[in-house]
Symmetry: C2
Subunit: 110 residues, 2 copies
């Protein structure tokens, strides 16, 4: 069993409801994570590299919500937890929704 399957629960976007998508993207910290991931190559950003105004536990919660909403895929490499924005598959499920989030100026997210 890989580290990914042992530690982390993922949901494929095809199984995500619009309610879950709105709940995940309704939080400004999670939109910041999504925007920063969109600006980096897949699997290059570790969770600890995000400058977020929240505790470590809250940060972990935000990433768990993003996984459950089909927005983020994670895998562990050594001591780092790397991230990928599931953009193609999320775009297929909700065409245009990520584009709206990525068009938001960073300063609007609170």
């Amino acid at each position: 069993m890989s580290a990914r399957s042992r530690n982390l629960t993922h949901t494929h976007p095809s199984e995500v409801s619009l309610q879950d998508a709105f709940d995940a993207l309704g939080d400004p910290v999670r939109r910041t994570i999504v925007r920063e991931l969109a600006g980096a190559p897949d699997w290059t950003r570790a969770c600890g590299t995000f400058d977020l105004p929240v505790s470590k536990a809250t940060r972990s919660h935000h990433f768990a919500v993003l996984r459950a909403a089909g927005l983020v895929e994670q895998r562990d490499e050594g001591t780092r937890r790397l991230n990928r924005l599931r953009r193609p598959e999320f775009d297929q499920r909700f065409p245009g929704l990520l584009d709206v989030v990525l068009a938001e100026p960073a300063t609007d997210s609170g």
Copy 2:
């Protein structure tokens, strides 16, 4: 002073943040209202014609949130409060966001 300006506070979509838009559209009852309005000509649906599983006070609150998020325009005609979905101007502010909501099957909204 018209009935519109006396009784009802509206916000133009150009002044709405993405946070306010997500907050408004994050509720399944409000998405139902938006979808039903999209399926009817402007100014033909009165508030009382929506079959919603909520109290009259909650219904009024939902419409107030939709007005404040630039999604709905209202005006009183006699005893009826008529509605218009501000689709062109909301689409201009957040291209694609309403399309995502309108693509949601009615049964998904709870």
